[in-house]
Symmetry: D2
Subunit: 266 residues, 4 copies
Amino acid sequence: MTTCKIHCQLHYKIVQATEFIFLVHAAHHPDQTIINETLSFNLPLSSRAFQDACHHNRHTRMHVEPCERFELNYSAIVQLHPQVSRELQQHFNELNVTDLPDEVLPYLLSSRYCDADALMDMAQRSFGWMTAGYARVKAIEEWIYHNIFYVSGSSNPLTTSTDVLVQRAGVCRDFAHLGIALCRALGIPARMVVGYVDIEKFLPDFHAIFEVYLDGGWVLFDPTRLAPVENLVRIATGVDASDVAFATFYGEIELLKIEPLITYTR
Amino acid sequence: MTTCKIHCQLHYKIVQATEFIFLVHAAHHPDQTIINETLSFNLPLSSRAFQDACHHNRHTRMHVEPCERFELNYSAIVQLHPQVSRELQQHFNELNVTDLPDEVLPYLLSSRYCDADALMDMAQRSFGWMTAGYARVKAIEEWIYHNIFYVSGSSNPLTTSTDVLVQRAGVCRDFAHLGIALCRALGIPARMVVGYVDIEKFLPDFHAIFEVYLDGGWVLFDPTRLAPVENLVRIATGVDASDVAFATFYGEIELLKIEPLITYTR
Amino acid sequence: MTTCKIHCQLHYKIVQATEFIFLVHAAHHPDQTIINETLSFNLPLSSRAFQDACHHNRHTRMHVEPCERFELNYSAIVQLHPQVSRELQQHFNELNVTDLPDEVLPYLLSSRYCDADALMDMAQRSFGWMTAGYARVKAIEEWIYHNIFYVSGSSNPLTTSTDVLVQRAGVCRDFAHLGIALCRALGIPARMVVGYVDIEKFLPDFHAIFEVYLDGGWVLFDPTRLAPVENLVRIATGVDASDVAFATFYGEIELLKIEPLITYTR
Amino acid sequence: MTTCKIHCQLHYKIVQATEFIFLVHAAHHPDQTIINETLSFNLPLSSRAFQDACHHNRHTRMHVEPCERFELNYSAIVQLHPQVSRELQQHFNELNVTDLPDEVLPYLLSSRYCDADALMDMAQRSFGWMTAGYARVKAIEEWIYHNIFYVSGSSNPLTTSTDVLVQRAGVCRDFAHLGIALCRALGIPARMVVGYVDIEKFLPDFHAIFEVYLDGGWVLFDPTRLAPVENLVRIATGVDASDVAFATFYGEIELLKIEPLITYTR
């Protein structure tokens, strides 16, 4: 069992009055236990917590008036205790659609960033011949790792999985989008997971990976190979990045600092 | 109050074993009351009803083995009694994001078919200068009606709102997608509604329109102008067509007959 | 007959050694006579003039080493004397492909910026039903004028005619690209023309319009309506903007000044 | 020296009167000598031969009235005698733009199917770090061979080099388009070459490859690896497939037979 200490700081200049919806709280999930957590701001603000009906993500919503510096601080201690070991997961098979639970079906559909429908032929051609199961998803993860360059700034808020294939570059969310789209195109339910993880060679940042539904449950994959999936403290789960942005906002702001720190004790 | 008699027939040849998820039941919604309804098949089949967590649509799921003819029949009597009159709705204003309920926020995001993010500039340029409120959405509806041709077969399962703008043609779902995308691009929550409605000059078919969230609640718009929105018996609501297909299937089939009949008694 | 005095200045900072191919000379064309012209630079440079085999445009090619300021000056006096009046052109008809001269056929093909093939259905739907001839091309010009916004900075070097339709905005080259694509999609040869023209409400800049081949020859159209086509001193003609950029360069530069001045004496 | 015997048959049903522009004649090119050639039809037709100004391709143009079967037959004996050996070409270097001949410059520009501008970053990322020269182009050829599937029917008349990257599949013209686009994106002039070649495992068909301009002249590459480039009898050269279609037509036809046979005597 790993104990994680999270200290996340987000600093903004608020140019025009802005409505924020944050996703920074660690998720309530069987693989992790939140020992304690606190959320605070540098200004006297009222915020509202709510969970969405689709993904049960823990949103924090607030209105912020123009100011030079608005700071959000989230601190938490979280224990990681995966219910199923990676060793076991390697023996998981794919399920026929008929055997998928109802609530998993939406993760077969195309979404804004994961245009699986456009990649149907490509996915069948490249991975359709492989034996179904964990190994096939692993092969997709590996293909992405070897064929897509990790390049900061190479993508933008409109970049779809198709675009990632063209430009052969992206950041973590793009790698995840491509993995998700390829899996869905093969009939494997897949979705995005974002969270806190320590990536040694990079400055602290939120991380995005994906998980697919196999016969033993949801299994995490990270085509960036930047950190072990076991080290991720999950924040949110969604169909793609549009569901799980750490900050969705309506207004005009400047991001001054983003520092989602995490440290581990084993 | 209008009483509607629905008789919907869907006939398929099942080439390979197929998993179906149908959306044919009238919705539970304050604007309509289901007096009675029956669902039946020409084969002894077990089906399962479920509601999804996001939109509470009434799905029917079943597995069908290969056969020459699989027939689904849905019959219902539904009373329509809109809670708010169109006259009243014309005085509704747009809400600031700050004043939107939490559960409405997802309808501001881009989705697979409604790529509002790609139309942000176009929407601002064309409709941004107008006074916010019902009249602005009505102007969008009218612009679509006058600038997009209704052409059967002009779109396909990959057609986005951007594509509709390019080809200047589409069918009802494309008209709705464009309306939704333009509204979201302006900060107005919008979503797709599908249902039964009688369109005199066309053969019976499912219809798709959209609704936007104004200060008095959700308001329906139909940029095709093919039928009064008051005549629609709602089946399902979703972010776009991917959520609300009358039949999502995994397998190989041929559609032999689609006849969602509706008749009215006033 | 109109006499035009052109004085064109282009100033650059040359960051890295750059190969330039300029198109600034007035064209040799039956509608205009070059009375005199001079090309000069602020630095001792050797330049080479050449005409390309396809369009006979008058290119000037040179190599420039890094420097703070490289200035090109082109001055000319040109007489405009259109061979065929606008009144006469209004009676021109479209030609069947069979009757088109061999050298005109390439202007039916799609090109980088004028993706006529992608607009085939849209063009047929919108303009296919009209009587062929000058009036139909005029209708296309008018449609563009009324449906596309002229917005500086709304397009970029990748913007195609399809993109212009989506964003409903562009600058002169985009307006021309859309006009060309729609004409080609209808089987009317069309190409881009760039030149010097005075546009009162704008700062001096190069202008782009298009011309189509009718039974009396090439006829100019300007969907921006920013200046009478009769006032344009033609520089170059091409399939689209890629052929007729006033400056194509390989290297690294900063554009400091662009001032293609023209004044008229009648 | 190889002697090639070409016998090309094209059969069509002409549904509506059609204007054809064929490219079936062997090119006049230093690497090949046409010993004799004949063109004939099954109907009494007048055809016109012309060469275009840009590429000097040998077009044959004719008008054909509706009929059940229109047959074109082209026979030729052509000697192949490459001026420069493949061994020598492997030592060719890339040229700086400054050293490129004027007439080669257009082959640096993006075109309808070779959207080099959209692949600039991808090309730099993937091949920009390599030593310039023949080996780099060979690496591009190899990358395409290993990453793109040759799949009949996987592309259509709108498929660009970007699309080929997405779908990871195409036919010979798509392979060539991608090679051309990547080279141009790196500043290497590149263009399409079509011709007759025997491909053992396929039915007879026209073939498309590409050539790039290095310091010793134009060098052929075939990323499909379906046949040695030395075996190709060149028909035409162009910026991309739009320039060098074996048949461009305006009208309505059905292709009944396409059989461009070639046999070799060494």
